[in-house]
């Protein structure tokens, strides 16, 4: 495992640029509802996870998030992500018919770790969703992604999503983050 900051400026620049390009491209696929193409960017062993967040006292802030293996909003493998994508194409997926309109802003992208073909990337995001005539939802949070180089291409091998909301102030989360 190499510390990212041990690399030269040029190496860090190239790697960060590559990660950024990947994250912007997949965000764009999701915004454009090209979910089948998005699915091709994830590995077979992906863990796509969004824990439940709770309001705790400052002293007990360690209890803020639920832990892996327990209750969560998302706890998906490749098969479950595939089902989500299939569902939207199956008809009678009313939460997305008419389709919502989404826009993803991805920012503060930082590589935190490198391990062989894998890099850990943390990024902040804002996901804006509007629906029908007047519904609006906004989610802001942080993602911690594991990107893996497979056959020269980066793929998403892990995505852990940490929202700032405790009570989800939306009627559903029919979209991907």
């Amino acid at each position: 495992m190499a510390a990212f900051h041990d690399l030269s400026l040029q190496e860090r620049l190239l790697l960060t640029f590559e990660a950024e390009e990947f994250l912007y491209r997949e965000a764009s696929l999701l915004d454009e509802r090209r979910l089948d193409e998005w699915l091709e960017l994830v590995t077979d062993d992906i863990h796509y996870w969004m824990p439940i967040r709770r309001t705790t006292t400052a002293k007990e802030v360690a209890l803020e998030f639920t832990q892996p293996g327990g209750m969560a909003f998302f706890d998906d493998d490749r098969k479950m992500l595939g089902l989500r994508v299939q569902r939207l194409a199956a008809g009678r997926a009313w939460a997305e018919d008419p389709p919502s309109r989404t826009r993803r802003l991805v920012t503060n992208i930082r590589i935190t770790e490198i391990d062989g073909d894998e890099i850990t990337v943390t990024a902040n995001f804002q996901l804006y969703r509007t629906r029908l005539d007047s519904e609006e939802d906004t989610w802001i949070g942080r993602r911690e992604d594991l990107l893996r180089r497979v056959g020269g291409e980066l793929k998403l091998a892990r995505r852990h999503i940490f929202l700032e909301q405790t009570v989800i102030l939306a009627q559903n989360m029919s979209n991907l983050f």
Binding site: M50, T66, M71, A72, R92, N172
Partner: protein, 447 residues
């Protein structure tokens, strides 16, 4: 019914004779206010399960209507339900939603309350108050009554409420027994919460609704997440209870339970639609003895009036009102402590993927309810009554030696009709004594 709340003619909000409903009950702010007073402030409300409060000082925050309450394990290991409001200026004394504390210290002026709500002291007690304050009188207000049925903690704000077990009646108790009969239960860490823009009653209405499944959840069936046969079986059983409780869901025969048990035992035979809905425990004689011969054959779907739904998938959903146009759904996942690891993992898998805001089923529900609410805002639209007639006059309540009266039928709206009829009686009654005197017993004969 009095004053401006009356419908345009003399038709009551819910017309039991014709099975129609005045949709203004979903939007009228006066009706909503009366619900808070006459239903939520009066009923026994589910607060938490005792497993959520393992130690002295463990607390969990919840709501009774719009009254915020703290459930806490006190120094004597008793569960207290306290109003989260300092008697000095009304500030909340507990801001975290769960955790563990030694006392409740108000962040405004420092009034400090013990775990049972007793006022311990405040800054300046002697110098500014001259010891004038009788601390025994100025603690946190407590729920009028707190009681525990098989680990499920309920509270009422009304001292005149009957005892919890009487309130639940055999139907409410049966609903809880369906979970509790399996053994000592535990709420898993992590309650999914989200807020919908719908009236709370439309969420409750839906739990009895086996008619919407094939349409609303059509996409989840098409991708094979769950089979059509298991998600919307035609074989249904409706059990109606005093004060508005009900159970309405799929039914099986004793032969089917025996067949299920035999296949679990020897792993042979064809899979059946009920396999994903039955639990291993349902085949055990001691569990059947607790549920009774009829209760054993109901796969469940109770509502503990007013707003606690128990699902078929080891979850409970509390529907908390947030004004006439908003409702929070809180999903508790609850499993036997000694559930084998594989079944426990299945329960978590289902809980994380079927319900909750990202659930493959639940995603498609919310907009139906919010648009049903929105439709009741139109000046003229809201004067058009809704049709709750399905199955009316075509079924019969069956009674036998078991004492477990039930309707065995296909998909119907019997339970919704009973829910609104009971709701109406709660709304008409001025007090618990009035409600006890003027409420319907569950119907008999042709329904």
């Amino acid at each position: 019914m009095a004053g401006s709340l009356i419908a345009t003619d003399t038709t009551p909000w819910f017309d039991a004779e014709h099975g129609t409903l005045d949709r203004r009950i979903f939007t009228d702010p006066e009706i909503y206010q009366r619900e808070l007073e006459r239903i939520f402030a009066r009923a026994w409300n589910f607060i938490c399960h005792e497993s959520q409060l393992p130690e002295r000082g463990s607390f969990f925050k919840n709501f009774i209507g719009e009254d915020e309450v703290i459930a806490v394990r006190d120094r004597n290991h008793e569960i207290q339900v306290l109003l989260n409001s300092c008697p000095h200026r009304g500030n909340t004394v507990c801001r975290a939603e769960l955790g563990k504390l030694n006392s409740f210290l108000c962040s405004y002026h420092g009034w400090n309350f013990d775990l049972d709500g007793t006022l311990i002291g405040m800054p300046g007690e002697e110098k500014f108050y001259y010891d004038d304050v009788d601390k025994s009188e100025w603690g946190l207000a407590k729920a009028a009554q707190v009681a525990n049925y098989r680990g499920f903690v309920f509270a009422t704000l009304d001292p005149a409420a009957p005892p919890l077990e009487d309130y639940l009646g055999w139907v409410g108790r049966l609903g809880i027994d369906m979970m509790a009969a399996e053994g000592e239960l535990q709420v898993l860490d992590g309650i999914q919460k989200n807020r919908l823009q719908c009236n709370w009653k439309l969420a409750v209405d839906n739990l009895y609704d086996w008619y919407h499944v094939k349409i609303t959840h059509g996409s989840a069936m098409r991708i094979g997440f769950l089979s059509e046969e298991s998600m919307a079986p035609d074989s249904q059983m409706v059990i109606l209870g005093e004060y508005g409780h009900g159970i309405s869901g799929p039914r099986v025969t004793q032969a089917e339970i025996a067949d299920f048990a035999a296949r679990l035992e020897n792993g042979q035979g064809e899979g059946q639609w009920y396999d994903t809905l039955l639990t291993r425990a349902r085949a055990r004689p001691e569990v059947q003895a607790q549920l009774g011969p009829i209760g054993s054959r109901s796969l469940g779907h109770p509502n503990i009036f007013p707003n606690l739904w128990i699902t078929l998938t080891r979850q409970m959903c509390l529907r908390i009102p947030r004004g006439p146009f908003a409702t929070e759904l809180w999903w508790f996942t609850i499993v036997p402590k000694d559930l084998p690891e594989k079944e426990r993992a299945t329960a978590i898998y289902m809980a994380n993927h079927a319900f909750g805001p990202a659930g493959l089923l639940e995603q498609d529900d919310g907009e139906n309810w919010s648009h049903s609410t929105r439709g009741a805002k139109g000046t003229v639209t809201r004067t058009r009554r809704l049709n709750y007639s399905m199955g009316r006059g075509h079924d019969r309540v069956e009674e036998d030696d078991s004492g477990q009266a039930r309707i065995e039928t296909v998909v119907s709206e019997h339970a919704q009709r009973w829910n609104y009829q009971s709701w109406q009686e709660w709304m008409q009654a001025e007090s618990w004594p009035a409600l006890m005197e003027n409420h319907s017993q569950p119907p008999k004969g042709v329904v």
